[in-house]
Symmetry: C2
């Protein structure tokens, strides 16, 4: 580190320590290390120091100081983000503001079906707090043991329960937010309906810490499901999967809680590398993991059989395995859940997190697969994911036998094919992971110019000095 | 009208007519009359003229001109709003921008469960377009034959289906909006998930036309319910109603689509004045109208009996009438739906549209009723409405025998009692109707000051000349 930065760090640390205590403002490289690296090693940043306030008031005083001094601040939760939004740049002149000490579940109110949690509470602890009150907090992600509610809201996290319960955004009733200049917005309302002025909370949700720092939230709770029925189906085409989706929605309405698409290649990977069992007697080109849930015991008896029976008659489904025990259910889910990890065993994988108008997905897959084959003969597209939400993780595995590094060097070229077609189909290049650093350069290409102008105007209004997570999103 | 305004009007009309055509820009008092009066006669405004653009492009050119000239613009849909947000002031220097000619259903896409409608489409036509595609658009209000989607979104309308489907805000996937200066934001995405930057659409929804003019929207569609079961229950207390709500949510989850509370006084009014039948053998202090819906035929067989049986055993419900035919269902709903009109027959009614944390409602009702009796002995509180959403229309009927005018003169005093306690309980003084003109003076009293500062900053950013619906909301 340059001497000038070292001197600066010492002064910054002592001013921050005066607010949060000596223990919680530090510039020691070893102590800072875990806060500076993106968990997959995609980004390795530097920082002036790390500050860990222990209360909303301390966050407020930290930001007031940073804003007055023009110090740049990188809000961070569990540091599990997938687009580099939570790590500092390499410049070394930024301060990591870790929210993990704000870790209280302030209240659980089962009668109102709400709970108030602080930003640093992990998603798992939030789920457990709900469960202890016989309620469900439905947000569920692979990283739930580590990721925090603050990060979930900053990134408007998605996950596996969006089809029935919505994104993180849809699970929030109120927020407490510290603005760039230290002002605190006390917006922890527990109300389902409140038309007293502009909707401010949705501005901060999904803003990736660029507009303000969420310190606490009122979250919605739901009845815990009593019955779940699960099946894995073999299908001939994505169009058949779409027909099955329509059929399942018509028959089960909000009871349809999972509808995940996986191509044969994905099943093979999970079988070959992750110890999963091939679920059906013979292979099918496509698979759907479908689950229905109900708050009433026995309400779903026969429901899945009815839907799948009709779908088989219509030629949409060719075979299906219905789980008859929790073990069987877990085995079916494992096929889907291990899929991301399994891809690593087949060499390089170039990843996309796209959303599309649901009706266009079969045509989109066909056209994109063809365009990819033309761009790189032998590459293996693996479009899988939350078909019920129109969200595909359209990953592309390298051709057999190609060198991984040579393949990964084509990241941008493959991206251009998938994102270009996504834009043409009216889709999104980031369905649930956000923009962060990873996709910032793509935003101008895909976003409506007036939307971008509004985003910049709002950023300047709420953070005029640009201290909050600079160089992320915008 | 003053001469100067008359001259101004002639020039304004001719400039606007150059954009929309002669027929659609007018200042003739008779032609303007229906656009200037709030439908209950609560506000009677004046205007320079009325302009009725026929396309998004015309709206854009009209606003560009108005913004350049500094002319004030009052966006208006079906003119059914309840807080005066849609009518011009008495000054006569404002232009009414009627959106009713933007009345195309641009697309219905049942596979994606979306439809694209223009702002001037009435809610009823939107519902019918969904139904023609075998889908449900669940927003439902008393004024649905007249009110428009643009107005519904501007006011974030609520209604009777919020418990299961959310407010208008929750039913929108994308928006097309003309900004104050005429720029058009093309945000008509059909995506369920899109994390590419700030959430802009929720800023315009509920902003009552003060931040931009919504010209079209992508709306969510749902499966049509195949089975509905309905009952009216007699209960001893609001606490019993709350216990029944918890029980019904636990048992039916998202299948619980209606949960409306009515006190005995309300049932008496509907029976005495609206031709309704007293539904139970003897009177009970409180009533709940409960309905479950399912996308599956027969899925609800026995469900309501089970819930109500357990509730009776627990002493929450004392008697219940379960509808066994569509006629019986309609008769039960009529008790609830005629309630607003019925109140008129008992003299003056001072109205409130409040929301509360659901768990606090029994205590809130007890305390507020006591405070009202103290403020005006003999007044008759009628707290009824969407208990499942925490939204009460806490209307207060005049004492028997009092003169109506003398009672209505106490509007502010009664408001103060109800709104004061609402604020103390962490509630909202406008759950679903908005702020408009009616409650503008109350906003500073109940709103977090930082929230107000942010609202003002955003208003200045998006409408720097303040031409859009000035003097409303803020």
């Amino acid at each position: 580190m340059q001497d000038s930065l070292l001197t600066a760090a010492a002064s910054v640390v002592s001013q921050l320590a005066a607010i949060v205590g000596e223990k919680y403002a530090f510039a020691d490289p070893q102590e800072m290390a875990p806060y500076l690296v993106e968990w997959r090693g995609l980004y390795r940043g530097k920082a002036l120091c790390v500050v860990r306030p222990g209360s909303t008031d301390e966050v407020s005083r930290v930001l007031a100081l940073c804003n007055a001094q023009g110090w740049k601040v990188i809000p961070q939760g569990g540091n599990t983000g997938l687009v580099g939004g939570q790590v500092p740049h390499e410049s070394g002149d930024e301060i990591v503001l870790s929210l993990t000490r704000l870790d209280r579940v302030r209240e659980v109110d089962p009668l109102s079906d709400t709970m108030v949690v602080e930003a640093g509470v992990t998603l798992l602890r939030a789920q457990e707090a709900a469960q202890a009150a016989d309620r469900l907090f439905p947000l569920s992600l692979a990283s739930e043991g580590t990721c925090t509610i603050g990060g979930n809201l900053g990134s408007n996290a998605g996950g596996t329960a969006v089809l029935a319960y919505g994104n993180a955004r849809d699970l929030v009733l109120g927020l407490e937010v510290v603005l760039a200049d230290g002002r605190v917005w006390h917006g922890l309302g527990k109300l389902r309906k409140d038309n007293t002025g502009y909707d401010l909370k949705n501005l901060f949700i999904g803003a990736e810490g660029t507009l303000g720092v969420v310190t606490a939230a009122v979250l919605k709770l739901f009845p815990r499901p009593r019955q779940m029925v699960t099946a894995l189906c073999g299908l001939p085409t994505p169009a058949a999967a779409l027909a099955l989706l329509g059929r399942a929605k018509a028959a089960a309405g909000n009871g349809l809680t999972t509808f995940e698409l996986v191509p044969r290649l994905g099943i093979e990977m999970s079988v070959n590398y992750m110890g999963c069992r091939d679920p059906l007697e013979r292979p099918y080109p496509w698979y759907v993991l479908i689950e229905l849930s109900s708050a009433r015991d026995e309400a779903l008896d026969g429901a899945l059989e009815e839907i799948l029976g009709a779908a088989m008659e219509a030629g949409e489904v060719e075979d299906a395995a219905i789980a008859t025990s929790l073990d069987q259910r877990n085995a079916l889910w494992k096929l889907r859940e291990t899929l991301s990890e399994a891809q690593g065993f087949e060499g390089g994988s170039i990843k996309h997190d796209i959303a599309l108008p649901i009706a266009t997905i079969p045509q989109f897959i066909a056209e994109t697969n063809a365009a990819l084959e033309q761009a790189m003969p032998g590459c293996r597209p693996l479009p899988f994911g939350h078909l019920g939400d129109g969200n595909l993780h359209f990953n592309v595995t390298q051709p057999v036998g190609m060198e991984k590094a040579a393949y990964m060097a084509q990241w941008d070229a493959i991206n251009r094919v998938v994102h270009g077609l996504t834009a043409r189909y009216g889709g999104s290049i980031s369905a649930e992971h956000g923009i962060g650093r990873l996709k910032r350069h793509l935003l101008a290409e895909v976003k409506d110019p007036v939307a971008l102008e509004m985003m910049r105007a709002i950023k300047s209004t709420l953070d005029p000095k640009g201290i909050l997570n600079p160089g992320k999103v915008l």
